[in-house]
Subunit: 662 residues, 2 copies
C-alpha cells in the first residue's frame, strides 16, 4: 500500500468553497456531508417513499401482458377493433405501400426459394417419416398464413430439419409409422395442432421469455448434435438400406449401419447420392466465390433432382436396386380436420411433444427472424411472431401439414435473392401448389438417395464450430451447456439433449445465487470511490474499517448463511485490527426473511466482538424491509448511509486517534 | 426538478488545489479525472488483472471442502491425527476443563430432561408406529454418541415429533406396520442407517448449504402443518379408536374420525386423555408464570403417566375399554445390525425417505443448536454437527434406534434446567437405560390416551403464528412459501408439503433472475452520487443522457433479452431527448454469452439511432468477458468508465451546447 493522504485524511478541507453562490461542478460527497446535517442524510436513505408492493407489481405485469396499446387512452370500439386487426394482420399495414417494383423482387426471390424449397420439403418429409407430399403441403399453406400475419420480411416458412427429426423421433414412440402410418399421421397432425395452440398462447400471454430458457449456447449444441444425428439417419437413404433402427443415437445408428452393410446392398444408391452431394457442394462453392452466381447454389438441389430422375428414368436403374420415391399423391392439401384427435389416450403425450416442438420451432424462427431484422433495420415483435406462428401451425394442422417454422438456410437464400416482403413466401407457396397439382408424377423415378444428399448438404449450416470456440474462450459454463446438449442428443435422444441443456443452464443460475462473492473494497487514492481490491490492485484498504460488498442481487435463504459466515470469517482473520465493518449493499436489490435474519445475526455477532456494523447504499426494497423487520432500530439509524465513503468516514470518526495508513 | 448547478455544471473548477503537496481529504472523482489523463482512467478499468478462472474457483472450492485446518502448514503425522481426533471428538477438548460444579448442574438438568424425555419418547414411538421401547432406545444410545462428538452444549437429543411422523407416513407405504411389523421395523432401521450416512456425507463434503434449501419460511409452514397433522393423528389414541386411516391429510383423518365415532367407543379414554392434557397445560402455565417453578412443567408429563397408570391399575379401567400400553420389552437396546437391509428391493425407496429425513432432522437440530449457541455465545460448526448427527444415527440404527435429532422443546428445558455441557444428555441416557432395565413392567397399565395428551401438549411449540404474521408483514413471497408448505402438509402429505415449499422457494429465486429491474438513475444535487430516481425522488435526471442501472448480478440467457428490450423501451419513450445511454453495470457480477450478445445487439440498436452507449463500473468478470468477446472494441474503449459520474460527464462533453436543466 502506498501511503498517501496519511494523517491529513482526517482534516476536513474546511473553508474550501464555503457557501459559494454558484456551486462548482460536482462538489463531492464529503463536502455535501458538511453542508447537510447528518440527520438529513439518514433521511435520504430511510425516509424515502415505500417501493411498490407485490400486488402492484403483479397487476403491472398483468396489465402489460394484456394491454397491447396502452397509449390509446380515448378510443372507440371501432378504433379498438381496427387496432387489434392491424396488430394481428400486419399485411394491412404494409400492403398499402406495396409497389410493383417490390413485387418484381419478391417474385424473383419466391422463384429461387421454391427451387430450393421443393426438394428440401420432400427430403424433410422423408426425415419426418411421412410421404413426400406432406413436405410439399407444409411448404404451401403455412407460408400463406404467415404472409398475412407475420412481421418478418425475410423469413422463409416451411418444414425444417430439426423439427422434422424431433417429430419423428418422439411421435414414433406412440405410433410406429412402419406399422400404422395412418395413426402416425393422426398423431403428427394432433401434435402440430397443439404446437400451434401453444405458440399462440405464448404470444397471447406474452410468454416470449419461455423461448429464452433455451440459451443460445444450449441451442448451438443441440443443433450441432441434431445435425449429426440427422446426417447419420441419411445413411439409410444414401446406402439404400431397407432395415434401419428407429433410435436416433450414434451408437444405435452405427450398429444398424454395421449390421446392414454386411447384408447385400446396392452401391448404385450410394454412387448417385454421393455424386450429387458433391455436385451441390461444388455449386455452393461457386455461389460463395462469386456473389452474383449465388442462384447457382440455390437451384443446385432442384437441378440434382431433375438430373438424377432423368438418369434413373433413362437407365431404368430402379430395376437394379436403386430405390425410387414412386407414387406421390397429386393435388393440393386436403383437409385433415377429422384426423386431429384431442380425446384419445395419447393426448397428454402429444401435448408434451407439442410443447417441446413449439419451443424449438419458435426458438429457431425468432432467432432467424431477429438476425435478419437487425440487418434490415426493422423491429420484430416477438409476441406477434408467436401469435402468427401459432395461427400458421393450427391452420397447417387442419390442412395436412406438419409443424412449419422459419428455416435458417432458406431464409438466407430468400434474403440474398432480394426479397422485400412476405410476398416471396406467397410466390413460393403458389409454385409449390402448382407442383403438387401438375408435377408430382414426374417425381416417380426420383431416387431416394438424392433426398439424403439434399438433406446432408443442408446440415453443415447447423454445425457452428466457430461459435463453440467462442463459447469455450468466453464462458466455460456456456461451453459446458453446449457440450451437454450436444452429447445428450448424440448419445441419448433429442429429449435427453434438451433436458441436459435446460438443467445445466438453470443449475448455472442457481449456483450463482448460492455462492455469491463477498469482496473487500479499497479506496481509490485521493477519491471517494471504493473498488474491489482484487480487481483494482492499486486501491488501498482502509485500516480498522473492513469494507465489504455483497455481490448478489437477492440476499435470500440459499445464500444468506454463506454470506454471514464469509463476513464473519473475514472479520476473524483480522480481528485485532478491525473496529467496524461497512457492508456495501448497493448490489442487493431484494432480501427475504432469511436474509434479514442473517443480517440480524451478523450484527449480533459483531456487536458481541465490539465491532460496529454499518450499511451503505441499501436498495429500495432492502430499506423498506429493514424498516419492516425493525432491523433499522437494531443496527442503529445512524449507521445506515448513502455511500460507502460516508460510512467509512463515520466509522473512522468513531475511532479517532487510530493510526491511518491510507 | 429543482434547477441547480445549471450551466455552471460544465465549467470544471480548474485551479482549485492544483498540485497541492498534501492532497486534501477526498478530492472527488471529477478532480481526479483532471489530474489523471483519460487514458489512465480507462487503464484502471480495462487493464487490471484477469479474474481467477473457473478451474481456479473449482479447485479453491474443493480445497476448502477437503482441508480442515489450512493453517497447519508444517505438521507431522501424529499432530495431524491429533487434530483430526480433536476435530471429530470435541469431548477431548472440553473434558479437560470439566469441573465438579458443572457436573452437578448437568446432573440436575439430566434428571429434569429424563422426566420429560421418557414419556415423550414413548409417545413419539407410538407416532412412529413402533413399540414403546423403541422410543426409549432412541433416547438412550444417540445422546451418548452425540455427547462425544457434538459441539452444542445445550441440545437435547432423542426422537422428535416431526421426524416420527415423517418416518411412519413414508415407510408405511413400503411395509404396513399393522400387517408385518417386523418388516416395517427393518425398513425403519434401514432408513435410519441411510439417514446417518447422508448426514455424515453432508458434513464430510461440507454440503451444509443443502440444509439452507429449506428456508426458514418453508420450515415454519411445514412445522405448523405437521403439528396439526400430528394432533389429528392423536385423536386415535385420545378417542381409543381401533381402526384409523394411515393417511395423514386432514380430509382422510376427519373422515376416519367421523366414521369411528359412529361406532361404539369408550369415552373413558377421552376423559383420561383430556383431563391430563389440561393438567399438563395447567402445570406449564404455572411454570411460565413463575420462572422458579419451571420444573413443575418439566415433570408434569411423567407425573401424568404415573398418576394415570396408578388410576387405571387401581380401578382396573382397562376392563372397561380403556386402552393400555400392555407389555413393554425390558432390557436396554439390543443389536439391530442384521435388520439393516441394503440389498433388498426397497433400498432406493428407503434412500429417498432417508434423504428427506436427513435434511429435516438436520434442519431442526441445526436451528435448535444455533439459536442456543447464539444465546450462550459459542460457535457452532454446522459441518461438524452434521458429522456428529450422522455418526449418531448410524450408531443408533445398529442398536434398535430410529432417527434421533435435537428436540426444540426438550432443548429449552435442558437449557432452563441449567445444563453446562453435553453431560446432561449422558445423565438422561443413563436414566432412560435404568428405566428400560427396571421400570418397563410398571408401564403395563399406562393408558394409551395419556401418550396422546403428552404429544398434544408438545405441539403448540411447533405452531408459530407470530412468525407467520412477521412473514406476511415483511415478505409476501416468504408468506406464500410458508402457506404453501403448510397447506401442502395439511391437505396432501408431508412430501407434498416439502415439495411445494422447495418449488416455491426456488421459483422465487428464478423469478428474481428472470425479471430484474432496470432503474433510471438521477444525480443527487451537487454531488457525483447517482441514485434510483424512484427511491430518492429529490434527485434529478440528467437531460440528454439516460442513466440506467441493471439490477441483476448475473446478466444471462434468462434475462438478457428482457433487459435489452427494457432499455430500448426507455430510450424509445424519450427518443427526441436522448443522445447517450449510460449503463451502470456495478451490480452485474457475471455475464454469459447470451448477455454479451444482448449488450452487442443493444449497442447496435443504439448506434443505428445515433445514440452513444457508455458502460460504467463493470465488474471484474464482466470486464474480462467484454475483452474476450471483443465487445470493448465495438463499444469503444473510451466509453467504458469507472464511475457513473465520469460516464455522464463524458457523454455531456460529447454533446456540448445542449441545454442543461440539472
Amino acid at each position: 500500500m502506498e501511503p498517501m493522504a496519511s494523517e491529513a485524511s482526517l482534516q476536513f478541507p474546511q473553508g474550501v468553497h464555503p457557501n459559494t453562490s454558484k456551486p462548482a461542478m460536482e462538489p463531492m460527497a464529503s463536502e455535501f456531508t458538511q453542508t447537510l446535517q447528518r440527520a438529513d442524510f439518514a433521511d435520504l436513505v430511510l425516509q424515502g417513499p415505500d417501493p411498490p408492493n407485490l400486488w402492484y407489481d403483479l397487476i403491472g405485469m398483468l396489465r402489460k401482458a394484456v394491454c397491447y396499446r396502452s397509449a390509446d387512452k380515448h378510443f372507440t370500439l371501432s378504433l379498438c377493433a381496427m387496432s387489434i386487426l392491424h396488430y394481428l394482420f400486419p399485411i394491412l399495414e404494409w400492403s398499402k405501400s406495396y409497389s410493383l417494383k417490390s413485387f418484381q423482387s419478391d417474385t424473383m426471390a419466391g422463384l429461387t426459394l421454391a427451387s430450393l424449397s421443393i426438394p428440401q420439403s420432400i427430403g424433410y418429409a422423408n426425415l419426418a417419416k411421412l410421404d413426400p407430399q406432406y413436405g410439399l403441403y407444409t411448404s404451401a399453406v403455412p407460408p400463406l398464413l404467415y404472409a398475412v400475419m407475420g412481421t418478418s420480411r425475410d423469413i422463409a416458412i416451411g418444414p425444417v430439419a430439426i423439427v422434422s427429426l424431433l417429430l419423428s423421433s418422439m411421435v414414433q414412440k406412440i405410433a410406429d409409422p412402419a406399422i400404422d402410418p395412418a395413426l402416425y399421421r393422426k398423431m403428427i397432425f394432433t401434435v402440430t395442432f397443439l404446437t400451434g395452440v401453444f405458440q399462440f398462447a405464448f404470444g397471447l400471454f406474452r410468454l416470449g421469455f419461455l423461448v429464452d430458457f433455451l440459451s443460445h449456447a444450449a441451442i448451438t449444441g443441440f443443433m450441432g448434435g441434431a445435425a449429426i444425428v440427422i446426417g447419420l439417419q441419411q445413411l439409410k437413404g444414401l446406402l439404400g438400406l431397407s432395415h434401419f433402427t428407429s433410435n436416433t443415437d450414434v451408437v444405435s445408428v452405427t450398429k444398424a449401419v454395421w449390421v446392414s452393410v454386411h447384408e447385400p446392398w446396392h452401391p448404385e444408391n450410394f454412387f448417385i447420392g454421393c455424386s450429387f452431394f458433391l455436385f451441390i457442394l461444388g455449386m455452393r462453392f461457386i455461389g460463395r466465390k462469386n456473389k452474383k452466381l449465388f442462384w447457382v447454389s440455390a437451384i443446385a438441389p432442384v437441378l440434382s433432382v431433375v438430373l438424377s430422375t432423368l438418369i434413373v428414368y433413362m437407365t431404368r436403374a430402379d430395376n437394379r436396386g436403386v430405390k425410387i420415391i414412386q407414387n406421390v399423391d397429386a393435388g393440393i392439401n386436403s383437409s385433415s380436420v377429422k384426423q386431429i384427435n384431442l380425446n384419445g389416450p395419447y393426448v397428454t403425450e402429444c401435448a408434451k411433444i407439442a410443447l417441446i416442438c413449439a419451443v424449438i420451432a419458435l426458438t429457431e424462427a425468432i432467432a432467424v427472424g431477429r438476425s435478419f431484422s437487425v440487418i434490415n433495420g426493422y423491429k420484430l415483435d416477438g409476441n406477434k411472431e408467436m401469435i402468427a406462428m401459432g395461427f400458421m401451425n393450427v391452420g397447417g394442422s387442419l390442412s395436412s401439414c406438419y409443424v412449419a417454422t422459419g428455416s435458417f438456410s432458406r431464409t438466407a437464400v430468400n434474403f440474398t435473392a432480394g426479397c422485400k416482403t412476405a410476398v416471396s413466401n406467397v410466390v413460393m407457396a403458389a409454385i409449390v401448389m402448382v407442383t403438387l397439382e401438375v408435377l408430382t408424377k414426374l417425381l416417380f423415378y426420383t431416387p431416394v438417395s438424392i433426398l439424403a444428399s439434399i438433406i446432408l448438404s443442408a446440415l453443415p449450416g447447423l454445425i457452428n464450430v466457430h461459435e463453440v470456440c467462442i463459447l469455450w474462450k468466453v464462458d466455460k459454463m456456456d461451453f459446458l451447456t453446449c457440450m451437454g446438449s450436444f452429447l445428450g442428443v448424440l448419445f441419448g435422444s433429442v429429449e435427453i439433449g434438451l433436458s441436459v441443456a435446460i438443467v445445466v443452464s438453470f443449475f448455472k443460475v442457481i449456483v450463482h445465487s448460492i455462492r455469491p462473492q463477498v469482496v473487500i473494497l479499497g479506496r481509490v487514492q485521493g477519491t471517494n470511490i471504493f473498488c474491489n481490491i482484487k480487481q483494482y490492485p492499486m486501491v488501498c484498504q482502509t485500516p480498522v474499517v473492513l469494507t465489504t460488498r455483497i455481490d448478489t442481487s437477492f440476499l435470500c435463504f440459499i445464500n444468506a448463511n454463506f454470506i454471514r459466515e464469509r463476513i464473519t470469517e473475514l472479520v476473524t482473520q483480522n480481528l485485532q485490527e478491525i473496529r467496524s465493518v461497512v457492508l456495501d449493499m448497493s448490489n442487493v436489490v431484494d432480501i427475504d426473511t432469511a436474509g434479514l435474519a442473517a443480517l440480524e445475526e451478523l450484527n449480533g455477532e459483531l456487536v458481541s466482538r465490539g465491532i460496529q456494523m454499518a450499511i451503505a447504499n441499501p436498495g429500495w426494497k432492502l430499506v423498506h424491509k429493514l424498516k419492516l423487520a425493525r432491523l433499522v432500530d437494531r443496527i442503529g439509524e445512524s449507521w445506515i448511509f448513502l455511500t460507502v465513503g460516508e460510512a467509512v468516514e463515520a466509522c473512522l470518526g468513531n475511532k479517532k486517534g487510530v493510526d491511518l495508513d491510507c
